[in-house]
Structures are given as structure tokens and as C-alpha cells.
Amino acid sequence: MDIVVCIKQVPDPEIPPSQFKVDEAAKRVVPPPGVQPVISTFDLHAIEAALQLKERHGGKITVLSLGPASVRDALKRAIAMGCDAAVQLDDPAFEGGDSFATAVALAAAIRKLGAFDLVLTGRQASDWDSGQVPSALAELLGIPGAVPVQKIELRDGTLYVERVTEDGYQPIEMPLPAVLGISNEINQPRYPTLKGIMAAGKAQIPVWSAADLGLTPDQVGERGRRVILTRLYVPVRESRCEFIEAETPQEAGEKLALRLREARLI
């Protein structure tokens, strides 16, 4: 079973909120110094899902990521976990893309890799939280798909998945090839073994440009966006605790409820 996993490297989502900074002019997040980017959480689950399928059904796993040199660390981590090969998509033309523009590049790369059975990716990335890539890939590749997915089984060439719903799941079956957006309920991503880490260190990771993928600059990156970011900012939040003052505890409870409603939190 040949699987392609698309991963994204994002700023560490576990940075405490107080350290989070945005450059409003550049509309870009400024990560705190010394904090390394990581593989987006749901993408880790996607890698693990691919590894488990490979353990059960054999085949090869190729990991793709679009980004600058730093994503090579993410790709290496995926190889260290057990993936077989990796490709980096890097080109100035790819910069500034939204989910769709990125998916265009990913889809072209997937086609270039050749025949595949399954494309896995996280249900959404921990940075922009848009969750559009799995569906975009399904549309671009013209194959069936489902998101978010908490369980995958392959029975006689047919894919059986469980799509997460608010109160449980929905079973769906589909033929291969397909695209699945993976959710965290599915597994626990494994820690790389030492052999894996060493193999990753030696791995050769080719870099493909837009031209390699047969794409023109207006199809990808900033020019390929379907959604334009007009503003990015950190909402001003009081860092001090606002204590609810009241005569009695009961009054405090009521005031708190009103305060929460006022803040649209309930």
C-alpha cells in the first residue's frame, strides 16, 4: 500500500500565550527566540496512521512538505519515525500561499510521485487552523475523501473509515485511491527509534520547485491564493485577573455568569 503523507511545519503550538507575538505589518507570527518549529500535531497522527497501515499491509510511505529549509527537520523526523522517503517542495513562488495554493503544489507533487493508494494529512494545521487541505486535495486529485477521520481499515482493497462527528462517528467506505484528513483520536504517534534517527540523518531529500511540478507562479503561492489575509493581530487581553466583587458568594456567582455572557463565552 503506497501512501503519501503531507505534513506542515508550524511554530510550536505549546508556547505559552504570553510569549505569542505578531508582526502586524508583515501579517506574520514572530516565534519567541530559541523555540524550534514542530510538525503540526494532527500531521504526526497522520504519519503514525501511515506507519501502522504499512506495518499491516506493506508498501512505501513518502512524506511531502512545502516550506523553506527548516521543513527538512520535519521531514527527517517523519523518516526517523519510519517513513521511507521524503520530498521538500521549495520555491519562492510557493511563498505566501493559502491552503488552496499549497494544496495545488502538493497535488502536483503527489501526481509526480506516481501511483499511490492513499494520501494522509492532518485534519487541520496548528497554525492557521483552516482545515482545508484534505478537501482541497480530494478535489484537485479527483478522488474520494473524508475528514476528520478517527479510524482506518483496509479490507480487500476497500477503505473503511470512521469520520468523527460531534457525538460519535459515521462509518464510510470508499475505493482507493483516497484522501483522508486525520484526527487525533486515531492513535498515539510513536517516538523515533535510534536507528530511525540515524537513518533520517543520512536521508537524501530532493527539493522540487514549481517548475519541477509543472506549475506557473500564478497557480501557487501569493498569487494562487483564494483567500486574502487582510489583517493579523493579537487580541488585547487583560493579563491581570479581574476579580468579581460582590457582597455574597451567591451574588458573585450570578455576576460571573453575566460577565461570561457579556464576553460571549457562554
Binding site: 497554525d127 491564493r225 483564494r226 489583517r231 493579523l232 485577573c241 479581574e242 476579580f243 460571573l256 455568569a257
Partner: protein, 331 residues
């Protein structure tokens, strides 16, 4: 401009109208009024006819009824082509839906099928000065807010975060029409086969993905008081969590534990009741956007990390809080 319309897509729901549909309807109504265009609703399914009346009463100018057994249960391969046809035929310029587990799938596929884009999980949408949709959404786990416009001049699609908007109110004497549409579906377009939804054994929102969480700690005092936590959670539609102390004491099972060695949560609202705020616990909830702490000890560490605080005995604060919340959410 008076051309076009706002189209709201009703959340798949057989029989009863889904509450989130009413939330999106309310927003759609506002946008439609601002733009001076009609508000339409797409109602797909089988047992959905009765919902049309309610939708009209709450502001829909037109309800497209697409009744067909092939649309039940929901699956992307049936809904997306049908909706795409509807959007093209109806001349909708803005399409809205709820960003549920289902909406996030078909809404996105629909946008791309139509050759346009979508802004997902919005916390607000407005009409900008140029008459185009301005969509606002939290990003980076809620640490930042992004504002978006759709490129080009095609249909603008946005999915709205559930439970954030008020449901559309009933309008006095509102009229609207019901338009039945035949469902055209090429068999070869449907590659998947979906089954009916299965309810999971554990009721209630899953802790790690919940938007609201109420957690109890040592201060709750004993299992006999734990119902206060559960009642508060239920009143505001929250998942129940606990600090390690409550799990250690055996008041709740292990999976409810929030902290360094338990669940990591990043809800919009986190209410910590009787929790002192040890660093190991905080490691599990620093992702929460708003932290509310209720504790008897004014020096408790949790207050250094909370945004709202009540110093008091939870046995006295909570009943009043629960009552008021129930009152407010029922409105």
C-alpha cells in the same frame, strides 16, 4: 448591490432543525439585510420538510427543499455536487454554513468545486465597505485573530464556529417561499458509501476538543459535591475535567485529568473550580483562551493565570452561577 443572495446551508439533520442552522441563519439574516438581498436556505435530506416553516418564520426569504433518499445519510460525494448545482442556479453570492465536523468537510469541498475559496471556523462575518464579505477567525489556537476576504469576485463561502452566535429569533409575520428542487446526481459521482451516524458510548463533549471545559480540584471537597461541577458543565455545554487531586481521590476516572500528564485542553473557556493551579495542572490548560478560577484561597496560584476570578466557597458560588447560566442560555 441588490444582485445575488445569501444562501445558508442547513446542517444535515433528519426531523429536527439543528440548532447550529439557526445560528448561521441569524448571521445570514443580518448580512442579507445589510446587502439588501434575499436570504435563502438549502435544506437537504429526507425528513426535512417540516423545518422549512421554522426557517421562514425566523427570517428565510426562500427555502430550497431538496428531498431525496440518496442524500441520507450525509456524505460529501452526494451533498457537494447537489449543493454546487444549487449555488450556481440560485445565483447566491454568499454561502454560509456551520463549521461542524460535517460542515468543515462539505463546505470546503463545495467552495473548491465552485472554483472559489472559503474561510473556515469564523468567529464573525461582516460586509466590508466594498460590499464584499469580511471574515474574522481565531488562528494559532486562539492566540491571534485573522481577517480575510475572498479573492476574485466569485461566490464567497464562510463556515461559522458553532455555539458562538445567537440563534435567529422568530420574526413577527415573516413570509417566505418554499422551492422544491429535484436532486440530480450522476451515479458515477458517488464513489463512497456512508452509513448512519453512530453515537459514542461516552456522552458529552470530548475533553481535548471541547470549546468549554469545567474542571474540579481538591477544593470540591468530596465526591458528594462533584455534581456541582457536572451541573455547571451541563448548564454551559462544557466538557468535564479534573485536576489530578480529584482523580487521585477517586472522585472521577483518570481520563478526565487535565495537566502535564493528562489531557491538554485549549478551550475558549476554562472554569477551574477548587483548583489551586499547580504548574503541572497549568501545563495542561495554558492553551485556554479565558480562564476563570473559583477558589476559596485568594493566594491560590491559579489566580495568577486566570482572567476572571471569584474568591469564595464554591459550595456557595456554584449553585448561583449554575442557576444564572441556565437562565441566560435558555433565552
Amino acid at each position: 448591490m441588490a444582485d445575488g443572495s445569501v444562501l445558508v446551508i442547513a446542517e444535515p439533520s433528519e426531523g429536527q432543525l439543528a440548532p447550529v442552522t439557526l445560528e448561521v441563519l441569524g448571521v445570514g439574516r443580518r448580512l442579507a439585510t445589510t446587502l439588501g438581498v434575499p436570504l435563502a436556505v438549502a435544506l437537504l435530506g429526507q425528513e426535512v420538510e417540516r423545518q422549512a416553516e421554522e426557517l421562514i418564520a425566523r427570517g428565510a426569504d426562500r427555502v430550497y427543499l431538496l428531498v431525496d433518499p440518496r442524500l441520507v445519510p450525509y456524505q460529501a460525494d452526494t451533498w457537494v455536487p447537489v449543493l454546487a448545482d444549487l449555488v450556481r442556479d440560485s445565483g447566491a453570492t454568499i454561502v454560509l454554513l456551520s463549521h461542524t465536523q460535517t460542515g468543515r468537510e462539505y463546505g470546503t469541498r463545495l467552495a473548491f468545486r465552485l472554483g472559489t475559496g472559503i474561510v473556515t471556523d469564523c468567529s464573525d462575518v461582516q460586509i466590508d465597505t466594498d460590499g464584499r464579505l469580511l471574515a474574522i477567525k481565531p488562528v494559532y489556537g486562539g492566540n491571534a485573530v485573522a481577517e480575510y476576504k475572498l479573492a476574485g469576485d466569485g461566490v464567497q463561502v464562510a463556515s461559522l464556529r458553532p455555539k458562538l452566535f445567537d440563534p435567529a429569533p422568530r420574526l413577527a409575520e415573516h413570509q417566505g417561499e418554499v422551492v422544491r428542487r429535484e436532486v440530480q446526481l450522476a451515479p458515477e459521482a458517488v464513489r463512497t458509501r456512508a452509513g448512519a451516524r453512530v453515537r459514542a458510548a461516552v456522552a458529552g463533549p470530548d475533553l481535548e476538543n471541547a470549546q468549554r471545559v469545567v474542571a474540579g480540584g481538591r477544593g470540591v471537597g468530596g465526591p458528594e459535591n462533584w455534581h456541582l461541577i457536572e451541573e455547571l458543565a451541563e448548564a454551559i455545554g462544557a466538557a468535564v475535567g479534573a485536576s489530578r487531586a480529584a482523580v487521585d481521590a477517586g472522585w472521577v476516572p483518570g481520563p478526565l485529568q487535565i495537566g502535564l500528564t493528562g489531557a491538554k485542553i485549549s478551550p475558549q473557556l476554562y472554569i477551574a473550580v477548587g483548583i489551586s493551579g499547580a504548574v503541572q495542572h497549568l501545563a495542561g490548560c495554558t492553551g485556554a483562551r479565558t480562564i476563570v478560577a473559583i477558589n476559596r484561597d485568594p493566594e491560590a496560584n491559579i489566580f495568577r493565570h486566570a482572567h476572571l476570578g471569584v474568591v469564595g466557597n464554591l459550595k456557595e458560588v456554584l449553585p448561583a452561577l449554575i442557576r444564572k447560566c441556565r437562565e441566560l442560555t435558555a433565552q
